[in-house]
């Protein structure tokens, strides 16, 4: 199957600086792809290129396998893009949302009905007659979203679409939109800094850093098997430590990490140095040296070094021969009576360990 939208050998420059270089990138029809990455990675630029708004210095953008040359208007009209800033016009909210439909010459009656439907969906029907210039940040973002969704395009490109929304709205809207996207088979690419949102909404995730795509793949895979250290950091892998391979046989790898030994499952792993990656939620903590009875193969003793509360979740930084970050619930922490200096045992499965081979 040809990809809905793809890039080939794309390079984007600003003055001297090369800010994006993508040899190959494909978005399948109907998929929802999240783009993650540090500030200044080039995410917005990538989206601009996909939206046919920035012609790359080199390379092609392809829609349905066809390189885009000229004909932009008709192709652009099959897409809609929402920018990082709302950029509303100096007219009513209603008129702003209607804009793309008017530009396409949609008949007035249909226009009104669709606008009404999407205003309601984004809970801004109350603002319909207000000026687009006097809205709060979140209100403006909703209008900007409605303005794109009302077009019901084949391809949606969203740049940090929910960054200004309040949390309950963000969650409910996220769910609702996921439904809409799935129903209508829209192809969507969205940039976000919220990895939970990416995890919840995206089929696949691309991680961009320094203008290059470091990894693309199914969400779960990118989250659990990051391709490099940077990706690991951006998908929330808490522990990334250099490790020496001691033994490797039958898919079981034994590693020296700091002063501890760790067992990992990794088929066909041949490097003799690696980065060990562990997600915080894959680590179970027990007080003292009473490991929780379980199928985990790794039980490391250590001492709590730092505790950070993130709402219901608590991040525990412990020294287990190497610095390790575990995530436990607030309740568990209270029950376990953990505090700085408490001795603990950290347990995790050999399958929870992901190894990035290092070829020094």
């Amino acid at each position: 199957m040809t990809a809905k939208l793809s890039l080939r050998d794309v390079v984007v420059r600003r003055g001297e600086a090369e800010i994006l270089r993508v040899p190959q990138f494909d978005v399948a029809a109907g998929e929802v792809l999240a783009v993650l990455g540090p500030n200044g990675a080039g995410k917005s630029t990538l989206l601009q290129v996909l939206a046919l708004l920035e012609r790359p210095a080199e390379g092609d953008v392809r829609l349905d396998g066809e390189p885009v040359r000229g004909r932009e208007l008709s192709l652009r009209r099959r897409m809609a893009a929402v920018f990082q800033e709302p950029l509303l016009l100096d007219r009513t909210v209603e008129a702003n949302v209607e804009l793309g439909l008017s530009l396409r010459g949609v008949p007035r009656g249909e226009r009104a009905a669709r606008v009404r439907r999407w205003l309601a969906r984004f809970q801004i029907d109350g603002l319909a007659r207000r000026s687009g210039r006097h809205l709060s940040g979140g209100e403006a973002q909703r209008v900007s979203l409605a303005r794109a969704f009302v077009l019901e395009p084949e391809v949606l490109l969203l740049d940090e679409p929910f960054s200004a929304l309040d949390q309950p709205t963000r969650e409910s809207l996220g769910n609702e939109l996921a439904g809409v996207l799935a129903e209508t088979g829209v192809t969507a690419v969205f940039v976000t800094h919220d990895r939970d949102e990416a995890a919840r909404l995206a089929h696949r995730v691309a991680v961009l850093a320094g203008g290059q795509i470091r990894q693309v793949g199914p969400t779960a895979e990118v989250f659990t098997r990051p391709a490099d250290e940077t990706v690991a950091a951006y998908v929330g892998v808490g522990t990334v430590e250099p490790a020496k391979v001691l033994e490797s046989a039958g898919g079981l790898v034994v590693l020296q990490v700091g002063s501890s030994r760790v067992e990992a499952v990794a088929e066909g792993f041949t490097a003799n140095e690696a980065l060990l990656c562990l997600r915080p939620e894959d680590i179970v903590l027990a007080p003292g040296d009473a490991a929780v009875p379980s199928s985990a193969r790794n039980h490391l003793r250590g001492v709590v070094q730092q505790v950070t509360t993130l709402g219901a979740e608590v991040r525990v930084h412990a020294d287990c021969g190497f610095p390790l970050v575990a995530s436990i619930t607030r309740r568990s922490m209270e029950e376990l009576g953990l505090e700085i200096g408490s001795p603990i045992t950290a347990s995790f499965k050999a399958t929870a360990v992901h190894l990035i081979p290092l070829n020094r």
């Binding site: 601009q48 939206a51 708004l53 920035e54 208007l73 652009r76 009209r77 897409m79 809609a80 893009a81 929402v82 920018f83 800033e85 950029l87 016009l89 100096d90 007219r91 804009l99 793309g100 530009l103 396409r104 303005r147 794109a148 077009l151 490109l157």
Partner: protein, 232 residues
């Protein structure tokens, strides 16, 4: 000062009496300068949009030239246009010298740089990401231009007024290419000059007041249109 009051009184008298000639001259001013402004808008918005939106070598020079054009003295424009249109000139065969059409040409030359300059300023001040956002919503080039012009409608109103103001108030070029022929090419400014030459200061002031009233009314109408549009 007394003269000025006399002029004001005279202006009301003339307007009240419905002097046919004055109405004719006023209407001619409006038509000639209105047409010139219209042409200047077409040119000024076209060139202004290109200068505001495109990056090309020589763009800075072009902007400087436009700004320089704001200093084109009407007499000079009049002289050059006249030289072109005189029978001995390259366009003499068109028989345009001393016609309202010649005045429209000269006034267009005078107004266009102002309109262009204001347009560059107005469009250049829009958020730089606005244009791609409009394209992203499916605007064609022309639709984009139309939308950004509407976004910049307040400063563009100033552009229109500056253009119309320059056209309707200039006198050097109109005299030179129009000839101030009674009943043919006499407009308000040239009539003012004539009255002033004659030492008839009160009528000169009266005509000036009529001219300013005209400008003010055009202004009011345009402002009104612009406000109405914003509401709708």
């Amino acid at each position: 000062m007394g003269l000025i009051w006399d002029g004001v009184r005279e202006a009301f008298r003339i307007l009240g009496s419905g002097d046919r000639e004055v109405w004719e001259i006023t209407l001619r001013s409006l038509l000639v300068s209105g047409s010139a402004t219209g042409l200047a808008l077409v040119i000024g918005i076209g060139v202004g949009a290109a200068l505001a939106f495109r990056r090309f070598p020589g763009r800075n020079l072009a902007v400087t030239l436009v700004n320089t054009g704001m200093g084109l003295p009407p007499v000079v424009v009049g002289l050059v246009v006249a030289i072109m249109l005189w029978r001995s000139g390259p366009l003499g065969s068109l028989n345009l010298i001393y016609t309202p059409a010649a005045m429209v040409i000269a006034q267009t030359v005078i107004a266009a740089p102002l309109v262009t300059g204001f347009t560059v300023a107005a469009l250049g001040a829009l958020p730089p990401r606005l244009r791609p956002q409009l394209y992203a919503l499916g605007a064609s080039r022309l639709q984009m231009l139309w939308l950004v012009l509407q976004e910049a409608r307040l400063p563009l109103l100033a552009a229109i007024m500056a253009g119309f103001g320059a056209a309707v108030s200039e006198v050097g070029a109109s005299l030179m290419v129009g000839g101030n022929l009674g009943g043919e090419t006499r407009v308000l400014t040239t009539a003012v000059v004539l009255a002033a030459r004659r030492g008839e200061f009160a009528p000169a002031i009266a005509l000036s007041i009529i001219l300013l009233t005209l400008v003010f009314l055009v202004n009011l109408v345009l402002t009104g249109v612009q406000l109405r549009e914003r509401q709708s």
